[in-house]
């Protein structure tokens, strides 16, 4: 692997945003995701390779460590910030078609619930693994999901919830999405949800952590 891309994936894994950032302490004073992404592109590294061989491996390692309780939310947020800083440099390549994302993922916290930390972590992790993410926010009802689906045909839809009482809304929204767009894959997640509930409401996937939804999406786009 290109040495620069190796460095870049380390920046993502350890949340090194740019040279000025003091975090992580062991990388203080070194270039971060911002400078290295720019340098790689300036040196002619393919934008697609920057994404798939630089950014994505770093974010995947973060996802696995988060699942294994080796890192926690603040560190994931640092990695996500490093990732989004790098993505600014890649945006023109996505816009021109020179680099492609793996697919589109629409995500929102369902109607009656405004807990969004978990949803945001999933969005960051999915984006960091090479997908375009449409984040609809919190308190989202069916119509908003369907509008986003109309604008992004073929996208996978993710429903998040924290409150036990919003599980009923999750069921209704899943069924309404399936009725309006039967081929749409619906993934569910959140503290009160489990595999059994996911099957009962007709969802296609239950993920217990952000990396799991990435793995599910990868099986559908590979």
């Amino acid at each position: 692997m290109n040495e620069l891309l190796n460095k870049l994936s380390n920046c993502i894994e350890f949340g090194k945003i740019n040279k000025a950032a003091p975090f992580p302490p062991q990388m203080k004073g070194e270039d971060g995701a911002d400078e290295i992404t720019r340098q790689a592109l300036d040196e002619g590294v393919n934008a697609q390779d920057v994404l798939t061989e630089g950014l994505m491996p770093g974010m995947e390692r973060v996802g696995v460590k988060f699942r294994e309780n080796k890192v926690f939310v603040p560190q994931v947020l640092m990695s996500a910030k490093a990732m989004s800083t790098a993505m600014v440099h890649l945006k023109p390549y996505f816009d021109s078609g020179a680099a492609k994302q793996k697919g589109t993922f629409i995500i929102g916290t369902v109607l009656g619930d405004l807990h969004d930390i978990g949803k945001n972590l999933v969005a960051m992790m999915v984006e960091g693994n090479g997908y375009k993410v449409i984040d609809l926010g919190t308190d989202v009802d069916t119509e908003k999901y369907l509008n986003a689906l109309n604008e992004n045909p073929g996208a996978v839809v993710g429903l998040s919830a924290l409150l036990t009482t919003t599980m009923a809304n999750m069921e209704r929204i899943t069924k309404e999405i399936k009725a309006a767009a039967p081929n749409t894959l619906v993934a569910v997640g959140g503290a009160p949800v489990n595999e059994e509930f996911s099957k009962k409401i007709g969802a296609d996937n239950y993920s217990s952590d952000p990396q799991a939804i990435v793995e599910f999406l990868n099986t559908k786009t590979a």
Binding site: V73, P74, L77, G112, I117, T164, T165, A191
Partner: protein, 242 residues
Amino acid sequence: MKRIFSLCLTNTAKMNIERSFTFEELEIDPKEIIATLGYTEDSFFEPFPTYLAQAFECCKQLNDIKGAYRILKMDEFCSDKKKICVQDLQFNVGRTIRKELNGAENIAFFVCTAGAEISQLADKLLKGEDPVLGYVYDVIGSAIAEAVGDKIQATISLSEQKAGRKITNRYSPGYCHWNVTDQHKLFSLFGGTACGVKLTPSSLMHPVKSISGLIGIGENVEFNDYQCNLCQLENCVYRDKH
């Protein structure tokens, strides 16, 4: 130490009790915040301690931390195994909470908030320039709302003790199958808004860092710790803390 008490008259001429709190008097333990962030004091490395210190300092300026409660008689005849009745309102609290309220003669309804300021600050930072600092504020905001809940609960407990009555733990819509749609009934007891907290049509509270709920009061009620094994929130940050 600044303490502001106010008695608010609603349109039904019944008394709500509302209090303002300073951040300092809530005595939030930084160790709890560190634990909620996922760390221990030993594993809490820079820049997170700096973020935490900065946020604690900033929170001293908050001036919209409030809690309110109202105590009403429970209508035993209308209540059943899943619901309670207060005034003309039925609260469908579900079997688990209803069981905890066995023996209650009165119900204290409460609304507590960390205020709009910290809720907006956390949201803005999380979505923009500094998500980590935003997350720290988010966690502290939740801790503030819960700490106000603790203070309100302690106040009720103390005053009821003098009358020979005990209290239950506190329970909130959205948990243990108590539907959040009952929030509108709960807030109607405060004239639709309390402590500056308002509801969306889908029953969500604004400012976000707010809690609401009820506490049972009576000579024969029991105070039980939260029963985590009865709850489906397997990843709840409070699981097994109580």
